[in-house]
């Protein structure tokens, strides 16, 4: 791996542009937004609303809309600025609304994003400066909150630590800031009426209020995320310890006791090598079913993981598996409950065919036209039987009862039966979602 070039410093202009461009430009992958990102997106939305409230309260205080003289030309100008501010706020609200809705979106073009976002922010600043007559420096607080939450989302997406104090300090000692100070000094020296310096000083104070509000927003929300991350890490550690303990117990209670049981059965019956092999095959199958339990409990098993123990069982019994589910279907993930149901259905149908003496078995999984169902078909050569004659209490009868009437069908197949079970599956939930890594 190439090491970072010696003395490499992160280019300041590069980062400034990155921040102005916003987080969507740096969007990579389809991972859903994290809780922290959604929280900051919500905060940004609230801040945008606050900016508009401040502007329109100030506008209402300045303009007598229902007065005798009606609205003057100046009032109409101010109203126009207010409306333009609303449009700018709405445009800036699109991204946080998408994040809140769990949509990561796709990466956008840097130049286009910089252009429209710069325009929208300038419009909000002009709106606040134009509509708020007094205490402008206070009215920049919600503006700073909007910018702060926006910057934080981008910093997290890029994987950059906010380091707010350092950045504020850098700004204070930057050439841009000294330029502003110089201009302020120049107006104080050359403008004898002192009107321009007063206005410039107001704008300067407003700028610093906004910068500090943004800094406070970034550091507070980032600290909140750190607390949440630390808490989650603690919970994860606890879960890991509990899981190790559970597995150790599982090894003792399930695996070792199964091995003990098989050993006792072999010892007690004085079995020959062929029967011992059969015992070991049974043991192998039981342990695989327990392994499957663990996978299904994981919450989103693949279909192939669910059917594999049954395929392996049939294979170990010397049955010819002439058909197995296709790759495109079996890659699908299902939820825990559906996984258990499919596992049970395949197990019952497979046992039924094996007990009937099948020598060839085909297993197929298909998505029927109804997206709320999954169709599992197991075809065997074990001769036919009447589905209605199944005695109550048997695995197949219980499965039919649990899956609802009509969802398990039997049709004739060459030399045997084709049993089809329709399994209800959830259609609305995304089974497997990728959480964006915590930065």
């Amino acid at each position: 791996m190439i090491p970072a070039p010696p003395g490499y410093k992160y280019p300041a202009l590069d980062l400034s542009l990155a921040l102005i461009a916003g987080d969507q430009v740096w969007q990579a992958g389809s991972a859903k937004p994290t809780v922290s990102e959604r929280t900051v997106a919500g905060f940004k939305l609230v801040s945008l609303v606050m900016v508009l409230i401040v502007q329109w309260v100030a506008f209402a205080g300045r303009v007598d809309v229902f007065g005798e003289g009606g609205m003057t030309e100046r009032d109409l100008w101010l109203a126009g600025i207010g409306v333009a501010s609303i449009v700018a706020a709405l445009v800036l609200a699109i991204r946080p609304i998408a994040l809140l809705g769990g949509h990561p979106g796709t990466a956008t073009n840097l130049v286009i994003s910089v252009t429209w976002r710069l325009g929208a922010y300038l419009m909000l600043i002009v709106g606040t400066a134009g509509l708020v007559p007094r205490y402008r420096f206070l009215s920049t607080v919600p503006l700073g909150m909007v910018a702060g939450s926006d910057c934080l989302l981008t910093l997290w997406t890029l994987g950059i630590a906010p380091a707010t104090r350092r950045r504020v300090r850098l700004f204070a000692f930057s050439t841009v800031h000294f330029g502003v100070l110089g201009a302020l000094l120049a107006t104080a020296v050359f403008d004898t009426q002192h009107a321009t310096p007063r206005a410039a000083l107001g704008a300067y104070c407003a700028m610093w209020t906004g910068v500090l509000a943004a800094g406070l927003t970034i550091s507070s929300l980032d600290r909140l995320k750190s607390f949440a991350d630390a808490q989650r890490a603690d919970e994860r550690r606890y879960i890991i310890v509990a899981e190790h303990t559970r597995r150790a117990h599982w090894l003792h209670d399930d695996v070792l006791s199964e091995i003990r049981l098989a050993t006792l059965r072999i010892d007690a019956a004085g079995l020959d090598s062929q029967h011992i092999r059969g015992e070991l095959q049974d043991l192998d199958h039981r342990l695989r079913l327990r392994q499957l339990d663990e996978i299904v409990r994981g919450g989103s098993p693949h279909l192939y993981e669910i059917i594999q123990p049954q395929l392996r069982r049939a294979q170990s019994l010397g049955i010819d598996l002439y058909q197995v589910p296709r790759h495109d279907v079996s890659q699908r993930r299902v939820d825990e409950r559906t996984g258990q149901l499919i596992s049970r259905a395949v197990s019952v149908l497979m046992s039924n065919a094996i007990n009937a003496g099948a020598k060839r078995i085909g297993v197929a999984i298909r998505q029927p036209d109804d997206p709320s169902l999954l169709e599992i078909t197991l075809t065997d050569d074990a001769g036919g039987f009447e589905l209605d004659s199944i005695s109550p209490g048997r695995g197949l009868a219980t499965l039919i009862r649990d899956l609802a009437p009509g969802t398990v069908r039997r049709t004739d197949a060459p030399g045997g039966s084709a049993m089809t079970a329709l399994i209800p599956i959830p259609t609305n939930a995304a089974i497997h979602t990728k959480e964006r890594h915590a930065q």
Binding site: A28, R312, P325, S330
Partner: protein, 236 residues
């Protein structure tokens, strides 16, 4: 005599299995318990068939590395994968199946007679279907666009090589910032390089991957990617 190389990290199991294969198929079987040792075996001998496991958790390598190495050194050696075939190895299995002329895949849990039968049929030059328990993990047909040479298209200029070289480092947390720092590229340049690679990454089954997913892919397929990265970096 037919020679088989068995690459499997469970030493006791591998020795026993090698003994059975020797007895039943009449082949000489060498057992290699580490991917890092494959090179030594290949220097010493030529093999008619290589039986390779995919998972080597104790090593910084996978069976895909071993398979690629064997194929490069001895293109006539028949490649057979022997695997558990679970979710843990599914991506590696798919890559191996698509990128190399793998003759068949044997399930580690299949009955011994079945496994031996598959090996004998491969040695006899027959077309041997993948074990039924593994079939659901493998596409019905190989992606014709995807082969080892195709990785060259992931490095169309030196900047791409820099990006992949950094992503090949497994310890790096692949954020834009870290990748930009490690490559010395600007943030927007990293973003542009990623965007340029997206259409080609789709061929390898990655749809709009994050930098971390690209890193995972690079690590998994490093045997195919690294030669092109090194070539590009050495020629700059």
């Amino acid at each position: 005599m037919t020679r088989i190389l068995l690459v499997e990290d469970a030493a006791a199991l591998a020795e026993l299995f090698a003994h059975v294969v020797h007895e039943r198929c009449g082949c000489d079987v060498d057992v290699c318990v580490a991917v890092s040792d494959v090179e030594l075996f290949l220097e010493r001998d030529r093999y008619d068939l290589a039986l390779v496991d995919l998972s080597f958790p104790q090593e910084n390598a996978s069976g895909l590395d071993a398979l690629a190495q064997i194929h490069r050194a001895s293109p006539n050696t028949k490649l057979v994968i022997m695997t558990q075939g679970d979710a843990w190895v599914s991506s590696t299995l798919r890559d191996a199946w698509e990128l190399l002329p793998v003759a068949t895949v044997i399930s580690k849990t299949a009955p011994l007679d079945y496994q031996i039968g598959m090996i004998e049929r491969v040695l006899a030059g027959e077309d041997v279907p993948v074990d039924p328990a593994i079939q659901p993990l493998i596409p019905e047909s190989r992606n014709p666009q995807r082969d080892a040479q195709r990785f060259s298209r992931l490095i169309t200029h030196n900047g791409h090589a820099k990006l992949w070289n950094v992503l090949l480092g497994r310890r790096l947390d692949a954020t834009y910032k870290n990748v930009a720092d490690a490559t010395g590229l600007k943030l927007n340049t990293v973003k542009n390089y990623r965007s340029q690679l997206l259409p080609e990454l789709r061929v390898h089954g990655l749809d709009d991957p994050s930098l971390r997913e690209m890193q995972e892919f690079a690590w998994r397929c490093r045997s195919f990617l690294l030669p092109f990265v090194e070539e590009s970096l050495n020629n700059r």
